[in-house]
Subunit: 328 residues, 2 copies
């Protein structure tokens, strides 16, 4: 292993000069710096992050805690986080809580200890988590917190409603997700607020955020006499479409469906789903940005910072004019 001592000897300087030349270039004479840098490169020197962190009090790594890495939603966020971290020369420790709230705080505790800060995506037990961070900066994705990144759920709901309204829909069902979901609560609130303004919104659920959950909502949706449904996510939409078709109805002719999240799934199914989404990688990148901004700042300093990313609407095949509005 090549260490600062090797580089120092070869370059004819002291180890501190090597350290400075590599991490605080301004404090070293140009000539010296260039020599050190080239020697370091020639020897293939790679600084040891653990040692640097030990001394400097910063580890040069951040933690990322997700409920399920195999979920495309979190996978996309994770990709944004790793990309953002790379730009800041940070390492990323990734941990998966397997959707278990009781595991979450424990993992967070050990993660916080080994890193300069943690990004907590869609926490399942935020109250227990906050103290577990042990004073380290904590950026929360998709939920409230002093440092938070989220997508504009209210804006997304507005986009979906406006799209459906412009097609002529007047009675719209919302197929809600798990009761504990923060996003779901935000969307319900936005839908509630929008109700009456030209559309009636029928709230259904909660339903599990799965294909079966969507299928299980079909009877309620049909009974609601809505001409369009907005679902908690794309997977639920797929289940709803499937079950509704089994009842002899057509999508979108008899029922328009709008999904949420705009995962790649939305474009692949038949009919392709109109879906509300957001740039998930940007969510990850912004989370890193927030974290980097707070790392190094005095602990507890700084005001709460919340980043809200705009929602998008991808219009595909699953929405159209309601039958009642057509001339037939």
């Amino acid at each position: 292993m090549v260490t600062v001592r090797d580089v120092a000897r070869e370059a004819g300087v002291s180890i501190s000069t090597v350290s400075r030349a590599l991490s605080v270039p301004d404090k070293v004479a140009v000539e010296t710096r260039e020599r050190v840098v080239s020697v370091a490169a020639a020897l293939g020197y790679q600084p040891n992050r653990a040692a640097a962190g030990l001394r400097a009090g910063r580890t040069g790594t951040v933690g990322l805690l997700v409920p399920d890495l195999a979920n495309p939603y979190f996978a996309a966020v994770a990709k944004g986080v790793t990309a953002g971290a790379r730009e800041h020369a940070l390492g990323v420790f990734v941990v998966d809580s397997e959707e278990k709230p009781e595991v979450e705080a424990e993992l967070l505790r050990s993660l916080a200890h080994q890193t300069d800060g943690v990004i907590l995506a869609s926490p399942r037990a935020l109250d227990a988590d906050l103290p577990a961070a042990g004073g380290k900066p904590l950026v929360v994705v998709n939920q409230g917190g002093p440092l938070a990144v989220g997508t504009d759920n209210a804006g997304g709901v507005a986009l979906a409603l406006e799209h459906l309204r412009s097609l002529g829909h007047q009675r719209i069902a919302y197929v809600g997700g798990p009761a504990a979901s923060w996003s779901d609560a935000q969307r319900r609130a936005a839908l509630h607020a929008a109700g009456g303004a030209g559309v009636e919104v029928v709230m259904l659920g909660p339903f599990p955020p799965t294909v079966d959950g969507g299928a299980g909502a079909a009877d309620d949706v049909v009974a609601s006499e809505a001409t369009a449904a907005i679902t908690f996510n794309d997977v639920v939409a797929v289940g709803l479409v499937r079950a509704v078709r089994e009842r002899g109805l057509r999508v979108p002719e008899d029922l328009s469906v709008v999904g949420f999240d705009d995962t790649f799934l939305a474009a692949l199914v038949t009919p392709a789903l109109t879906s509300v989404g957001a740039d998930l990688r940007e969510v990850g990148r912004r989370a890193i940005g927030l974290l980097v901004g707070r790392i190094g700042a005095r602990a507890g300093s700084g005001a709460a910072t919340r980043v809200l990313l705009p929602a998008t609407l991808a219009v595909r095949e699953s929405t159209t004019t309601p039958r009642t509005a057509r001339e037939d």
Copy 2:
């Protein structure tokens, strides 16, 4: 921050006893050990991995390098890796090479330096990678190497062929993936070897591993007069199904389609895809197992070890008896 010194003082022992009590329990008197352990717990002591690694020469972390974390295939493998690492009390540094071969070796170099070993999933430039690992244990997923974990592509091909043959198909097209793909090469070899034994196999491609790639293969598939197609992966299968239907053919009645990878996508599309798969999380878990086995062993020691996980076949709606074999 609680350190060994705090625990030592509180427990009335020296710091070395604390260290031993926690990491080499056998070398400490039961009574002493219990006292130390309970004090450590009471104080909320968490060992500093960086410091431990610095001294011991092991970091307690492994690296995971994937081409694309947002790809469900790698997300599943990554989930298995993090789960396996947790069982061994290892941290996981995750890095995404964004499918860029030239970035891969560079990332691997820095990753290898900060970890006890690296798992390299589906390398895009393995030859450049091997030296970059710098002597650290390197487990390769889905490609050859001294330490390798993969799925049984030949077995998967055999399962698909046997399934189609039993349905009565005699002429089968393979919609191949990228020329650089190792899995694709293995499958082609297996198909080639199987050709003539009761079935004719028509090799097509290479095609990009995307929906458009699958759609672009439709004409070739139709022209091949095959009654069934096996595709490089599920996404390609979706594209193929879509394009074939646009040409007025039905799936599976006019063309049976078998996908590869058995991602969750396969069960969600219409028709649900029959697909060859494997337990991807197990791939990740086995990779960790291999790595742990090699870490601590003398560098370069030990024979090459390759783990081959069995392929599975999930039969769904996209395959059926060919028209030519039916009484019509």
